[in-house]
């Protein structure tokens, strides 16, 4: 029954879906302590922008996808300035009322949830009002590869490659560049980082922008294969949150590992027993992970390392 190539391709597909769905969410949550419930709608912005750029402006697909990521990134920065940090409203209110009106939402989990949930409702309904219940969809590029009696969409294999590329790029950005060093310094100890001359305010803004751009790019990448309608972000949300929770505190490594583990579970079970059982298996895996690894996979690795250091 089980065909090895099918299983391998399914795994790549699930891995790419989970990693791409979770990447932006993981950065914003892991680095800023903000739970972004509008993550699905950021994906929507990317998907709609890319699709409209192709169908209305006639841009080539690759360019349209980059535009999708860019537009979502800029929207993310706008969101951060207005809602998350409140920098712009506070600038205005300081000059009119003489005091701040918004206290930043960093590391206020529940508060950030409420604010971004509201934002997600506005964005979904806004998309419905502006574009109607669906927009015309672009075709999936690249055709298919065949093997024996089976065939598989080439584009979905490309997606897996892109997801690995994005993980590597993100890892490089946050560990090997000066920006990454400043960003991590901001997370670890904001006051000290400020004392060392890091503009933490700007770090927060850029990090949120990068997380949003990744979400937008995810939407743009999946635009040719999913149905274009205002609630399309919902289908990414479960996988994204499960992946972030299972992954644990280390953003890039956690996303990669949980994408690998959950992708393998999802692929195996949906290949053997159908899509429905695959979904159930994914959620059961998340339950078990939360019970036995409350800090996620990378939290567990960190614990092991500490224990080893102590015993030495």
């Amino acid at each position: 029954m089980v065909n090895g190539i099918n299983l391998a391709l399914q795994f790549l597909d699930s891995f790419a879906f989970i990693v791409l769905a979770a990447a932006g969410l993981a950065i914003i949550f892991g680095i800023m302590g903000v739970i972004n419930l509008a993550h699905g709608e950021f994906i929507l912005i990317g998907a709609y922008t890319a699709t409209l750029a192709v169908t209305q402006l006639g841009l080539p697909l690759v360019v349209a996808m980059l535009v999708g990521g860019l537009v979502t990134g800029l929207f993310g920065i706008l969101t951060e300035r207005v809602i998350i940090s409140g920098a712009w409203p506070n600038y205005i209110s300081q000059r009119t009322l003489g005091r701040d009106v918004i206290e930043p939402l960093y590391n206020r989990l529940a508060d950030s949830m409420v604010a971004t949930f509201g934002l997600s409702l506005i964005l979904t309904q806004g998309a419905r009002i502006r574009f109607g219940n669906s927009i015309d969809q672009i075709a999936t590029p690249f055709g298919a590869i065949s093997y024996g009696e089976f065939s598989y969409s080439t584009y979905r294999i490309v997606l897996a490659g892109v997801s690995i590329g994005l993980l590597v790029a993100t890892y490089y950005l946050f560990t090997r560049t000066e920006f990454g060093m400043r960003a991590r310094a901001t997370i670890q100890d904001k006051e000290t980082a400020q004392a060392m001359g890091v503009n933490t305010d700007r770090m927060y803004m850029l990090t949120f922008g990068i997380g949003s751009a990744l979400a937008g790019l995810t939407g743009a990448l999946f635009a040719p294969v999913i149905s274009m309608q205002p609630t399309l972000g919902d289908q990414f949300l479960v996988e994204a949150f499960v992946a972030v929770v299972v992954g644990g505190p280390s953003v890039v490594l956690g996303t990669a590992l949980s994408g690998g583990v959950l992708g393998a579970i999802l692929a195996t079970f949906s290949n053997l027993y159908g899509t429905f059982i695959g979904r159930i298996a994914l959620l059961v895996a998340a339950l078990i992970a939360l019970r036995f690894l409350p800090d996620g996979i990378t939290g567990f690795i960190e614990q092991l390392r500490k224990r080893r250091q102590e015993s030495e």
Binding site: N3, N6, L9, Q10, D13, S14, F17, G33, L37, N107, R108, L109, A110, M113, V114, F117, G118, L121, I122, Q125, R128, G132, N133, S134, I135, D136, Q137, I138, A139, T140, G143, A144, S146, E149, F150, S151, Y152, S153, T154, R156, P224, V225, I226, S227, M228, Q229, P230, T231, L232, D234, Q235, V238, A267, S270, N271, G274, T275, F276, G278, R279
Partner: protein
Amino acid sequence: MTRSSVSRRQFLGASGAALVTGLAGCSAGEGGTSTDTASSTDTLKIGVLEDQSGNFALVGDPKAKASMLAIEEINANGGIDGKQIETFQRDPQSDNQRYQELTRTAINEENVDALWAGYSSATREAIRPIIDRNEQLYFYTTQYEGGVCDEFTFAVGPTARQQLGIVLPYLVEEFGPDIYTIAADYNFGQLSADWVKVLANENDANVLGEEFIPLSESSFGSTINRIQEADPDFVMSMLVGANHTSFYEQKASAGLDIPIGTSTAMAQGYEHRRLDAPAMANIYAGVNYMEEVPTESNTGDGGFVDRYFEMYPDAPYLNEEAETNYFSTYMYKKAVEQAGTTEQPEVIDALESGIELGTEEAPEAPEGETIKLDGATHHVDHHMWIMRADEEHNVEAVENHQIPETFLSETAGCNLPENPEQTQYTPVDYYEEAE
């Protein structure tokens, strides 16, 4: 970092607040055309609850629009028996709980004389107990799995036995006897898949395999592989909702080149217009209506299509259920005029006398010729079509003829005027092969 630890209580409070905010936001988005004047003798009130947002918005919105078109036409022509129609129209947002609340409002506060409500079978089953308890005249207008024998419900959309019954035998004859079924994982999909088995047996075909897919699923890689492994002559697809639309794009890009018979694609969500060709190539839809149905009363000058787009120039498509909402409003008109009153028991009696459209005194339904409401079962003898999309997504009619609803009348023996009941019969009760 003093705020980084959030207590359980704070968290629950905050999520509760989020929920309330969500609900408040939803109700603010409600755009009804309710006219709340007290009921007087020269008006009657129709309730229209159709999804204009949420998961079923794409297919539900045309239903609301077509109801309003029929009502406006009737009002412009002097109303029903001289009475102008008032409407209670709300958007239940594809949410069954809101459907239940709004159904209660429509019946208890608005005192509607007739109610049109709901896209999915799950919605219908959520509100049917409220309807039955209040003895409310109710029109359910979606194509569905069939089997509802209910004294207050008029299920005027075509049933699985009518839709699959026209398309499946054709595909067996054209392509061969081996079938693979994929269907949405709730009562509609499960029962439709049972009907595929029954019809396969009647037409000497075999169902090689079937898969049920949750409504939230949008990745179909493993499903496509499983179809390829089974290697059927054609696929029967009863996928539902926006997420499942992804299947057609994905099977095209995976190179799965196989004829697909369906009762759900194209006629409702106009996938042949929304998706880039050739995603819908070789899809055969068994339907009572699509915008492309080539009848004079539909696509002719000043026909249904012209009138609809004159009223809604920006509407994207005129779908199967919209036509059902439209003609059933005229059926209701004819029944009220025949009964000479809006009292619901008398109107139900009139409807049960067998209302026909397409005769001299009533307009033809856009799907074609004469269609008749079967008084015994509250279902419609529809004019059914097989519509096929080609590589460029052009749609043509392959076959058409009238098909009566036989499951309830002949198999289950539903006869509502003689034996009032509120049952949904399923094929499993009558056919071994459906088990």
